[in-house]
Amino acid sequence: MKKNLLAALALTFVTSANASGPNPYSDCGIGAAIFPTQSAAAASSNIIWDLGVTAITSATMSPETCNAKNTKVAKFIIESFDSLNEDTARGEGQHLNTLLEIAEVSEEQKGDVVAKLRANVAVSMTEFNAKTTKVEKSQAYYTALMTAI
């Protein structure tokens, strides 16, 4: 029963990341602009990725999706994904602290948000496999964060 619940939650995160719901990676063009080939461009993204310039409008996005804060959150997640994910697993760390600052999570909220985020990401990770792209992982993490806040 517990396993089924986890699988359902995981599916929710992955599908919401890929299809409906706030998704700055597809709606604001972040993933496409940064990782056009999903591979070699990642190494040079430090150079070409300029804050703000990759955001584009989309007919499907909600007005909030591409606001400055959410775009910045999404960019930080994709750029720091591994370190951020490790910090989240530990429940502490400078990447996680930075994310919470960017997302404007108050000191009082932090404990609660981290606990929820940790639970959400742990569930979404069960669906990751060798073919899961960095953009998809980041989308799942972003959704987990927005759900936790």
């Binding site: 190494a43 990725w49 994910n85 530990r90 502490e92 400078q94 960017i102």
Partner: protein, 622 residues
């Protein structure tokens, strides 16, 4: 009406004429400032630095947009007048383009020297600049040193960044100012090197959040970062920061050796220092040199650099975590690395919770270090994910490891070495402009590695002076494989380009030599001992005939016995296309006499000619 307009025009003309005559008569400019004051200000050292005139009269900027006067009309006085004029111009549609917003450092400098109120210059609020410079009162800036990276020629000597400690921002999100060459995408490595050296690239300051650099250096290139707060008085930091703002995206001509990140970062900071730390005449300026000079500099009686903050790379974290495990924990990590199906909480069930944390954190670092993220077939990607998932299954707890290193780049010797000594053949005088070899790799360097450029030796033998050896470039990259875990690579390589004597018994038989080696290394005794073996190939001859081509093998041992003593032994065999061969054994020992001096003894034996050479030299670091 027309007549009235004509009269008005005549009146304005006369007014201008009178104004001009007055300016001439009383030696004042349009603002009524005494000409002598302006002249004096225009030659102020700080004003010249603000114009990037560091030495002589020519600005270092090559970007015409930075200067307000045309190139052929440039003088520090004309630029001063033009700057003052821009400060009182009406605000443009984009207020951030107003003179005061484009040149906040010039504004600050002139406002401190002149009475702007009296001159009618009203302060303009600059939103973008204000946001960028909303910094903490103390330690507004930090200087970050990234250790050298032998995988990229532009990074051999390390790199510098300036972090802006903005208020209400987490450390990784703060703005970081970088200086680098603007290299076109897909530039070939040879063009990259040649153009970097001959000044064909533009370069500029750019700014990005620190996390971009942090992830690139720490995670991708495995380079440790050292962050030094710049402890200047707030008004000094404000001026430096304002100047950097002016310089962002402004083009300079880039030269790899002496107009590089180290040079321009140092120039920006020394704007407020009592003494310059860089000279334009220097042929080589290195990032570590800037850190060292700032470390020994003071401003208003206080040290310029504060206590360092260490950001270890992923590789360093893995090695330090692994080193801190007890034998049982190390055994478990090795067991899992060899049989990843045991990467489960069940296999760790008998261990204390703290041990579980340490083992899993080490495995996370290990898999992250060895995995090929771009290769979907690499099983380490899945093992990495599994290790992270295990951490999620344990209760929340921060990583307990306290990372440390004594290898701080501000400490240690200067980057250049001059030496004098003798061998069996005569007196040797040598200069190594940069940087280190396996014997003296220390603070800010890579253990057992070598990076030398531009070294040469002359020999005085029986009253004759000859060029004895030349090392244009010598790089040796030794991977440490400290953990001995699968995939913790020990592949190593070296490249030397220069000239050496044909045999050890000759002092006037210099011939060109290029040698490349590829092999493996093993490290022991807490990485203080490295043993390497290489397959080698190269060319050594004084003519371009194929007989100079050779293939061979090299064995090398490098032992860092203590901070004072080190030794290297090399056995090098070459088999030439001409069917001749040579085998040379060389043993060299170094003793650090002081921080700036050392003594080196070496003994070589050439088995082909059955001759030996002994040499001794005393070196001075500067």
């Amino acid at each position: 009406m027309r007549g009235h307009s004509s009269l008005a025009s005549i009146f304005i003309c006369m007014q201008n004429l009178v104004k001009s005559l007055c300016l001439l008569a009383f030696s004042v400019n349009v603002y009524g400032i005494d000409k002598e004051i302006l002249n004096h200000l225009s030659t102020d050292k700080q004003w010249l630095k603000l114009l990037t005139v560091y030495d002589g009269q020519i600005p270092k900027v090559t970007d015409g947009a930075f200067l307000l006067t045309a190139k052929n009309e440039f003088s520090s006085l004309n630029e001063l007048n033009a700057t003052l004029e821009s400060f009182s111009m009406p605000t443009p549609e984009d207020i951030n383009q107003h003179g005061q917003c484009r040149y906040p450092a010039r504004y600050t400098f002139l406002e401190r020297k002149l009475d702007f109120k009296k001159l009618g210059i009203e302060k303009v609020v600059c939103p973008e600049y204000s946001q960028f410079t909303d910094v903490n009162e103390q330690n507004q800036l930090s200087l970050v040193f990234a250790t050298g990276f032998l995988g990229n020629p532009a990074s051999y000597y390390g790199h510098l960044l300036l972090n802006v400690n903005q208020k209400n921002k987490a450390d990784l999100d703060k703005a970081s100012i970088n200086f680098g060459a603007d290299v076109p995408a897909n530039e070939g490595i040879l063009a990259y090197i040649v153009k970097g050296i001959d000044g064909s690239y533009d370069s500029s300051f750019t700014t990005q959040p620190f996390f971009y650099h942090f992830n690139n250096y720490n995670e991708t290139e495995h380079r440790d970062l050292w962050e030094y707060p710049i402890a200047l008085a707030p008004e000094q930091s404000e001026l430096v920061l304002a100047h950097l703002w002016e310089l962002i995206n402004v083009d300079f001509q880039y030269f790899f050796f002496n107009r590089n990140c180290a040079y321009f970062m140092a120039r920006a900071i020394e704007l407020v220092l009592d003494e310059d730390i860089i000279e334009d005449t220097k042929l080589w300026v290195g990032p570590q040199e800037v850190i060292q000079k700032l470390h020994s500099s003071s401003s208003k009686g206080l040290p310029v650099l504060g206590p360092v903050k260490y950001h270890p790379s992923r590789q360093t974290r893995l090695y330090q975590r692994f080193a801190s495990l007890n034998d049982t924990e190390k055994k478990k990590v090795k067991q899992i690395a060899l049989a990843p199906e045991e990467l489960t909480l069940q296999s760790l069930a008998h261990m204390e919770l703290d041990a579980k944390y340490r083992i899993i954190d080490t495995l996370i670092d290990y898999y992250q270090f060895v995995r090929d993220k771009e290769n979907k077939q690499d099983s380490n990607n899945i093992y990495y994910k599994n290790a992270v998932m295990l951490r999620y299954q344990l209760p929340i707890a921060a990583a307990s490891q306290d990372f440390h290193s004594n290898n701080a780049p501000a400490l240690g010797r200067g980057i250049s070495r001059s030496y004098i000594g003798f061998n069996n053949l005569g007196t040797i005088i040598g200069v190594r402009p940069s940087y280190y070899d396996a014997l003296d790799a220390s603070y800010g360097h890579i253990k057992h590695a070598e990076l030398k450029m531009g070294e040469f030796e002359i020999i005085i033998d029986s009253g004759k002076v000859n060029l004895y050896s030349v090392t244009l470039l010598s790089i040796e990259s030794i991977k440490q494989n400290y953990t001995s875990l699968p995939g913790d690579e020990n592949s190593s390589w070296f490249l030397t380009v220069g000239g050496e004597q044909e045999t050890i018994d000759c002092s006037n038989c210099l011939m060109p030599k290029v040698e490349l080696g590829k092999g493996i290394s093993y490290t022991y005794s807490k990485s203080n001992l490295a043993l390497s073996g290489f397959a080698t190939a190269g060319f050594k001859s004084d003519n371009l005939e194929s007989n100079g081509l050779f293939a061979g093998a090299q064995l090398k041992g490098s032992w860092l016995i203590s901070d004072t003593f080190s030794a290297v032994a090399t056995l090098n065999h070459k088999h030439f296309l001409s069917n001749t061969a040579s085998t040379l054994l060389q043993i060299e020992q170094r003793t650090a006499l002081t921080q700036t001096a050392d003594l080196r003894l070496s003994w070589s034996h050439d088995f082909k000619i059955d001759d030996s050479k002994f040499s001794l030299n005393i070196g001075y670091y500067w």
